[in-house]
């Protein structure tokens, strides 16, 4: 009985001595500030890691390869189109130059024809005059 009472008294005294105590003022605010600071320093590294980790996923690797192949095909087609348009422009320029040359030749030919007929007329007049004098 005495031992039981002694135990009970000790247990009551322990419960009182070890009762919960309030945390210091501002404890929760300090915890939240540490969490915020922790998050702000962790976020960029997490972002960086996740950016690289994207390429460990098979789907992302396939999508990247497909995008690169599509870009190469599109680039090749674009280059071919540019070359074709350039050749067409050069052919058109050549055709225009040819037309201009032909026009110039026709003009020169008609001028020569005119000069020749004038020369022939002068020659004919001189022959008539010469015959009349004789």
């Amino acid at each position: 009985m005495s031992v039981d009472n002694d135990t009970k008294r000790t247990e009551d005294a322990l419960k009182h001595a070890l009762r919960r105590q309030d945390a210091p003022d501002g404890f929760a605010d300090r915890v939240l500030a540490r969490v915020a600071a922790h998050n702000s320093t962790e976020a960029p590294r997490g972002y960086h890691d996740s950016w690289w980790q994207l390429f460990t996923r098979p789907a992302v690797r396939w999508a990247t390869a497909a995008a690169l192949a599509a870009a190469l095909v599109a680039g090749g087609l674009h280059y071919r189109q540019v070359q074709f348009e350039k050749a067409q422009a050069e052919r058109a320029q050549g055709e225009a130059a040819k037309q201009r040359l032909m026009l110039a030749l026709r003009i020169a030919s008609s001028k020569l024809q005119l000069a020749r007929s004038k020369v022939n007329e002068i020659n004919a007049d001189q022959t008539e005059n010469h015959e009349e004098k004789e």
């Binding site: 000790t10 001595a17 070890l18 009762r19 945390a23 404890f27």
Partner: protein, 178 residues
């Protein structure tokens, strides 16, 4: 006493609830650390570390009971780790201020003396005594938290109580003689 989280909300304790969880459980975590370490600044530092760890773990905890169980377990283990890492000295019993007329439960001298006696216990018995008398936990609950057999918990409790009673009686006798 903490109010239980309703069942429909229990599944998703969101981060927005974290501040509320800290306020609800700060006295429990801080007091376990304070009674174990007998050092206010070390206790606050350790309690803050526990809540930081909780923040990272929060998504996987399903209810307020789960949070409370996790906090007690992690605080207990961190206390033991902290003590082993820092090699904190045992509390010197000679530092206890004397009093002419001790002592009944609730007496400040008796409480201070008991806290110092508890702080002088070996690590695991100390944690068991704190969980039993601060948190009013049964031996079965303590055995779950410390992952040790119930019989071992009960044995630690009995031996610790006997030792505390003996030391307390000696201290009282010394005071009465003076």
């Amino acid at each position: 006493m903490a109010e239980p989280i309703p069942a429909e909300k229990a599944a998703d304790i969101a981060e927005s609830d974290f501040a509320e969880i800290v306020r609800r459980h700060q006295a429990m975590v801080y007091s376990i650390a304070l009674h174990f370490l007998a050092d206010r600044s070390a206790a606050e530092e350790l309690a803050q570390d526990v809540f930081l760890q909780l923040h990272a773990k929060l998504a996987s905890l399903k209810s307020d009971d789960h949070v409370k169980f996790w906090l007690r377990k992690v605080t207990g283990h961190r206390c033991i780790d902290y003590k082993r890492r820092r090699g904190l000295p045992q509390v010197a019993l000679d530092d206890v201020p004397e009093c002419a007329a001790p002592a009944k439960a609730g007496d400040p001298w008796l409480s201070r003396r008991l806290r110092q006696l508890v702080a002088s216990l070996p690590e695991k018995p100390r944690l068991i005594v704190i969980l039993r008398y601060q948190e009013d936990m049964a031996a079965e609950e303590i055995s779950n938290i410390l992952t040790m057999p119930v019989a071992t918990v009960k044995s630690h409790l009995q031996r610790s109580l006997a030792m505390l009673r003996q030391k307390m009686a000696r201290a009282l006798g010394e005071v009465l003689e003076k």
